[in-house]
């Protein structure tokens, strides 16, 4: 990546530019791999790109960035994803 010297509003690509957006989550998607039929609907519809697709088309959820919208659960035709309320961490 080449940085330009001129001082203007030039921004450079960064994963997690807004930090770990997983902290925004109220409900958490839980994937039941046994039910998953690898249709990839959750992967294609995830607004955040936080459903990772493996070589065998199995999927996993990246909780670092998943904002918990629940589209994956809503779009899963075999109900392999359910939404659970995030637990409040006890200090």
């Amino acid at each position: 990546m080449k940085k330009f010297a001129v001082e203007t509003s030039l921004s450079y690509p960064k994963k997690g530019a807004m930090g770990k957006t997983g902290s925004w989550r109220v409900f958490k998607p839980i994937l039941d791999k046994k039910k998953c039929v690898k249709c990839l609907r959750c992967w294609i519809f995830c607004p955040e790109g936080s459903i990772h697709r493996e070589k065998d088309d199995s999927v996993s959820i990246d909780y670092d960035f998943c904002k918990g919208c629940g589209i994956c659960a809503n779009e899963c035709n075999v109900k392999a994803i359910i939404m659970e309320r995030e637990e409040v961490k006890k200090k």
Binding site: E7, T8, S9
Partner: protein, 384 residues
């Protein structure tokens, strides 16, 4: 080298084409039209090899120049009056983006109550956009300034857009001879365009996303520093061009018979040219008066004006008015003098709406200022 006997617009177009921009985007408006028509003729004859985008508005003209410049190409456009006003948003955009777009603006009256004659309020009211602004006084100066504008805009210490202003009709539509150097001379002088940042698929960046106050502050300050750098580079580039072409029209100001002057007239554009005759006449009559023709209003030549204030009282003619305040040159010249000089400054508003300003008018203004009968700032030539 050839002599081109033609109008300011066509000579400006010649200069722009010789600087070889890759993209020209323009929209017609009187009295700029003959400039974009001339470029279209160069396109038709195959003498201009760049892209010529005939956009649907001036706003789009500047937006397209911004896009082209951001994609790494040298760009040029031209406009006038309401066209410049419509561009206003994108003038800021080009400057904040640090894109070295070069533009000719033909100074014309702003409506309503419209006409197409000269008045400098169009460009003067764009003075806070971050653009460097030149004002020309002859067709030769138009040619030379357009060439210098590319060199200046693209210089690594500047990287700002540059506006070359020429007065409607008095310059835009008046034929005068201009010496046109060889293409090689221009090529050598301007050089190949090397963008200071660009949209590049191999180095993906986002230009212009949300920016916090602390960074925004820095961007603004960097623009100011670039304008300050221009105060050194404009004279340097003018000197270099003199070496290359033989022509020189002054630094930030052009000094005319200022030696020993007790009064110095500050004026711009075509009035600046006319002022020379007035100075000759008054000097013949034994009056110690000289002329400092302001070529550049941004960056504002404050130090130079301060120096003049140590030598002489100042008489300032504005073909513009910042309504509710004063003529802008008058206002800013006084600000430059503040606390540094005891010089008296007298201002005149003259020639608005295309009203003719002859050397005799200029002489009358100067004499009035010198004999103390002028108000602090006077509207010259009004039937009160």
């Amino acid at each position: 080298m050839t002599i081109m006997m033609d109008t300011g617009n066509r000579i400006g177009a010649k200069a722009a084409v010789m600087a070889k921009p890759e993209v020209v985007a323009a929209y017609p408006i009187t009295p700029q039209t003959t400039m974009v028509e001339a470029i279209a003729e160069y396109v038709a004859r195959g003498e201009f090899k760049g892209e010529y985008i005939c956009v649907e508005s001036e706003h789009s003209a500047m937006s397209a120049c911004i896009g082209a410049s951001a994609a790494g190409s040298r760009t040029f456009t031209a406009t006038s009056s309401h066209g410049l006003l419509l561009m206003h948003e994108m003038l800021h955009w080009a400057a904040l983006a640090r894109l070295p777009v070069v533009m000719c603006n033909i100074n014309r009256v702003i409506g309503p109550g419209w006409n197409i004659w000269v008045d400098e309020n169009d460009s003067i009211s764009q003075r806070d956009t971050g653009w460097i602004q030149f004002y020309c006084s002859s067709n030769q100066e138009i040619f030379d300034t357009v060439i210098q504008a590319f060199k200046l805009a693209e210089h690594q210490k500047i990287v700002l857009p540059v506006m070359v202003n020429l007065n409607a009709f008095i310059l835009s539509h008046t034929s005068m001879p201009a010496e046109i150097p060889e293409q090689q001379t221009v090529d050598d002088f301007v050089g190949k365009y090397v963008p200071h940042w660009k949209l590049d698929i191999d180095n993906p960046i986002t230009f212009g996303n949300i920016i916090g106050p602390e960074h925004y502050y820095k961007v603004r300050r960097a623009m100011q520093e670039a304008q300050q750098n221009a105060k050194q580079l404009i004279p340097q580039i003018a000197k270099d061009w003199k070496k290359a072409s033989g022509y020189f029209h002054g630094d930030l100001l052009e000094y005319y018979k200022c030696e020993g002057a007790e009064h110095i007239l500050l004026s711009m554009g075509a009035i600046g040219a006319e002022s020379k005759i007035a100075i000759d006449e008054m000097q013949k009559a034994g009056i110690k008066i000289g002329l400092a023709r302001v070529r550049v209003i941004r960056p504002f030549p404050a130090e130079e004006i301060r120096k003049l204030g140590k030598q002489a009282d100042l008489i300032i003619i504005d073909r513009n008015i910042s309504i509710g305040s004063e003529g802008v040159l008058f206002n800013e010249a006084k600000a430059a003098l503040y606390g540094e000089s005891e010089a008296k400054a007298t201002g005149f508003i003259a020639g608005l709406g295309g009203k003719d300003v002859t050397y005799k008018d200029i002489e009358t203004m100067c004499r009035k200022a010198m004999n103390g009968s002028a108000k602090k700032q006077e509207w010259y030539g009004m039937e009160d």
